[in-house]
Each structure stands twice: as C-alpha cells, then as structure tokens.
C-alpha cells in the first residue's frame, strides 16, 4: 500500500478507545432507558391519580430492573409460519440505527464519541430513517394480519413525518450556518433558537413525537386497534429489543430538541464537562413533557394523522424554511423571525381551532342537523 489511509490504519490503542467508548455509550444509554421506564410509570401513575410502582425498592426504583429480568426470562416465541430470517433481523435493524445516531450526539463540547463535523446532523437524519425498515419487516415477517397492517402504517406515518423533521432541521442549519452539532449549540450562546424560531421547535417536537411513535401518534402499534402492530408476535428478549430502541429514540428526540432549540448544554454556573448536567436537566425536562402529552392526549385516527402530516405539518415546515431564508437574506433583526414564526403558529392554530371547536365545527353542524330532524319529526 503506497497510499496512507488514516481512516483505516487505526492503531491498536485507538481501536481500544473506540471499543471502550462504544461500550460506555451502550451502558449509559441502557441506564437512561431504565430511568425512563421508571419515570414514565411514576408520572403516568400520578397523572391518572395512582401511585405508580411502589413495592420494588424504595419508591419503586427497582421496578425497571424487575421488568428487564422478567423480559429476559420470558419464553421467546417464534411463530411457525413466520419468515424466520426476517423475524430475527427486524429487531436488529431497528436497534442498531437507534444506537448509531448516538455516536455523534454531543453531551458537551468535548463529551462526544465522534464529532463528525459538518456531517453530524445529516448523519443523524440518515440513520434514523433506516429504523423504519425494521418496523416494516417486523410486521411482514411475523406473518400476522395485524403485524402487516402495523408495518404498513409505520412506513406511511414515519415517511410522512420525516419531511417536516428534515425541513425544520434544514431551517435550523440555515440559522446556524452549519450542520455541526457542536457549532449549532455554540451559535445559540447569546439566545437559544426557541426564542427566535418557536415555529421550528413546535414542528420538530410534534413531528419528532410522531417519528418515535409516542402516544398521540402511536397509530402503528395502537393496542386498541391492531394489538401492538409490528410487535404483535414478538415476546421476551426480542420484544425488549424493540422496547429499548423505542426509548433510546425518544431520548434522542428529546436530546435533539435540546441541542437544536434549547441551547444544548449552555447554562450558567457550570463550565467544562460539568455542563452535561445542564444538558441532562433540559433533556429530562423535555422527556417529562413527552410523558405528560402521553398521559393527556387521546390517540389520533390514521386518516387524521396522515391529514395532519400532509395538510398542516408539511406546508408549515415549508413556511418555516421560507421565513428563515427571508430573514437571513435581508439580515433583519432576530425579533422579526420570532414575529413571523408566531404569526404562522397563530394562523394554523386558529384554523385548527375553527375546524374542531369553533362555531363552524363538524360537531356544531351535526348538532344543527339533529335539531332540524327533531323539529321536523315533532311537527
């Protein structure tokens, strides 16, 4: 070899550090998932006037461990009519991208496994798409009607909501003039982007929830309709892999919301790597909002979900790109962008309000028709 290739000629020590870093990331994410399951049980319990887990350990803190043990010890059933190879490969296709995107998500400026520079944000978007494939294959491979339906729903929903996510990420990259995660956070040093670009935060958060299938958008494994969708035939360890991926992705959406809009790890009092405390505090705050939404909103119907994606989210994300471009091109002061995003939010919010709650709403129409029928039958 005459050509020195630095990418591939890693020394043994570097290789060791890469492996150690990946292991550390894996462990940290597993601990995070355990904490998230406990938090979700407790918070949902409180929202529903229950206590949540109390028996296992103090305040039910050992509940996630008990859950994990139960899942591992459970019998792992593989249906006889399933496509064995696809049935096995689907959970891997879901969980590997979920872990892979964490390679480049920074905790603080230096606390990142591998800063991919200008490709960071793009890499995250690219690999989060691959996970959808696993859901589709899981549904098809388990040779189950509900599974296949769930897989199809997953493909339709996730591809639709991918568009607003990517559009808003592009708008943020335009604001920061970079796709580098660390640079995006540093550009928010004086003010986080939520202040100038609240529209972006709203679109990203809603579409992000849909991307990970949190409750108002969990149409592809809706228990009450298709009894778990792609996961219907999975049990034990295989199912827990999907579960792991779902929580890691939820955490990733929260982390990306914090990094792109809430100023990442920047905050007062802390310096250096201690800033990760700010980062974690913000991420967990976003996570609590996600759980809160899960506890309070009913699930959408599939047609409502798709209509919302294509009639509201996609046009709104185009609007977000256009106002960002106009703002950057003319070099207006930041508050103009705030005004423009709030105007977009207000218009859309008012339109939705008129549609569902205003006097012209469908419910009012139905009521009027019913009253007309009543008065006619009374005559």
């Amino acid at each position: 070899m005459s050509l020195p290739i630095p990418l591939l000629s890693v020394s043994l020590i570097t290789f060791f550090w890469i492996v150690a870093g990946l292991l550390a990331m894996f462990t940290a994410l597993s601990v995070v998932v355990l904490s998230l399951t406990w938090l979700e049980r407790k918070l949902l319990g409180r929202l529903q006037r229950r206590l949540g887990p109390t028996r296992t350990g103090p305040m039910g803190l050992m509940q996630p461990v008990a859950d994990a043990l139960k899942l591992i010890l459970k019998e792992d059933i593989v249906p006889t009519s399933s496509e064995k190879a696809i049935f096995w490969i689907a959970p891997v296709l879901v969980v590997v991208p979920a872990f892979m995107i964490w390679v480049t998500i920074p905790g603080t400026e230096n606390l990142v496994l591998k800063n991919l520079g200008d490709l960071g944000l793009f890499y995250i978007i690219a690999f989060s798409v691959v996970g959808i494939l696993g859901l589709v294959l899981a549904g098809w491979g388990s040779a189950n009607k509900y599974g296949t339906l769930g897989g199809l729903r997953a493909a339709a929903q996730l591809i639709s909501y991918e568009i607003p996510v990517i559009m808003v990420v592009i708008a943020v990259a335009m604001l920061a003039q970079s796709l580098n995660m660390v640079e995006i956070v540093e550009k928010q040093g004086s003010y986080p982007y939520v202040l100038v670009f609240p529209l972006g935060l709203v679109i990203f958060f809603i579409a992000g929830l849909a991307e990970v299938g949190r409750t108002p958008f969990d149409i592809y494994f809706a228990e009450s309709e298709i009894v778990g969708g792609p996961f219907v035939e999975y049990s034990g360890a295989h199912w827990s892999v999907f579960f792991l991926a779902e929580y890691i992705n939820t955490f990733a959406v929260a982390a990306l919301t914090v990094l792109l809009f809430l100023g990442g790890w920047s905050g007062p009092f802390l310096t250096g790597n201690w800033e990760i405390i700010w980062f974690l505090a913000k991420v967990y705050a976003v996570i609590l909002v996600i759980f809160w939404i899960r506890g309070t909103f009913p699930r959408l119907r599939i047609d409502q979900l798709m209509a919302f994606a294509w009639k509201v989210m996609v046009p709104l994300s185009f609007y977000a790109i256009i106002i960002t471009a106009v703002y950057l091109f003319y070099g207006w002061p930041p508050w103009t962008l705030t005004l423009m995003s709030l105007a977009g939010l207000l218009v859309v919010g008012y339109a939705i309000y008129r549609r569902f709650a205003g006097p012209a709403s469908q419910a009012a129409q139905v009521r009027a028709r019913y009253q007309a029928l009543q008065s006619r039958s009374g005559q």
């Binding site: 290739i5 990418l7 591939l8 690219a126 798409v129 589709v136 294959l137």
Partner: protein, 162 residues
C-alpha cells in the same frame, strides 16, 4: 487493509445483486437490494466520499427500500406465482451487458487515474451543485416530478378501468 475492506464490500454488493435476481421471494429480493445498496455506501466511505455515503444510506438504504417494501406489501404477493420467469429478461440482459461494455471500454481506453483521496467540504459541494451544476440539478428534480405525476395518472387509469 483497505483492499480487504474493498473486497469484502464488493462481495457484499455483488452477492446482494445476485440475491435480488436469484431469490424467488420478492421481499427477500428487496432485502438483498438493501444489502447491496448499503455495501455501496461502504465503498463510498473507503473512497472518502463521506457525504455521498450518507446520502446513499438516506435515499437508497432508507427511503427507496421502504417505499419498495410498502408497495410489495400493498400488492398481494401471495397471489402471484413464485416464479422468476420475467419476459423482459433479454432486454435486461442487453441493457446490463451494454453498461458493462461501456464501463469496461472506458477503463480499457483510458487507464484509471491514480486518484488522491479528496473529501470536499460540504460548502464546496453545495456551491458547485447550486451554481455550476444548477441546471442539471433542477432537471433531475423535474424528472422526479414527472415520474410522480405519471405514477398518479397510471394508478388513476387502472382504477377507472376496473
């Protein structure tokens, strides 16, 4: 080291391609296609075209394969006989042999230049794409739009026919 990686990736690419044409199950064929496309992304990576590799994963590994699987699952694949006898195979053979001939010919007449690994910055890429190559870029998107409208029209016609 990079030779070993290249050979491994080439084997995966070709194996995936063979799998696409050899398997009798359409979903398996789609999976083999995925393997092949991801291995091509790996080849881009050892050529230092990191941006291209990520685009390959995003467009082909993610979107295209998902849409393919979606279409396969919406059609009732079980009703089709599981045969790979496609009447268009002579045409496909001619097309692929012609492509091979063009590629081999270009290598034959012009020896492969000893290229240096060169990773252009994202901004350079964007600048050349949207200034120098802006018109081909726009034409490509126009082609996609035409394909989209064409697909809708074909789907509509078959709907009215039944």
């Amino acid at each position: 080291m990079s030779w070993i990686l290249f050979i491994a990736l080439a084997v995966l690419t070709l194996g995936g391609g063979l799998g696409v044409v050899a398997t009798r199950n359409v979903v398996h064929a789609a999976l083999a296609l995925l393997l092949s496309l991801l291995a091509v992304a790996g080849i881009y990576l050892i050529l230092f075209a990191e941006f291209l590799a990520i685009v390959q994963v995003l467009i082909y590994g993610g979107a295209i394969t998902i849409v393919l699987l979606f279409a396969i699952m919406l059609t009732r694949t079980a009703e089709y006989p599981r045969i790979t006898d496609n009447r268009q195979w002579p045409l496909a053979a001619v097309a692929s042999v012609a492509t091979l001939a063009v590629l081999a010919g270009s290598f034959w007449t012009k020896a492969a230049v000893d290229t240096q690994p060169h990773n252009p910055a994202l901004t350079d890429l964007a600048n050349s794409l949207f200034t120098r190559w802006a018109i081909p870029f726009e034409i490509a998107s126009l082609v996609l739009l035409v394909a989209l409208i064409g697909a809708i029209i074909i789907a509509r016609e078959s709907e009215e026919g039944t």
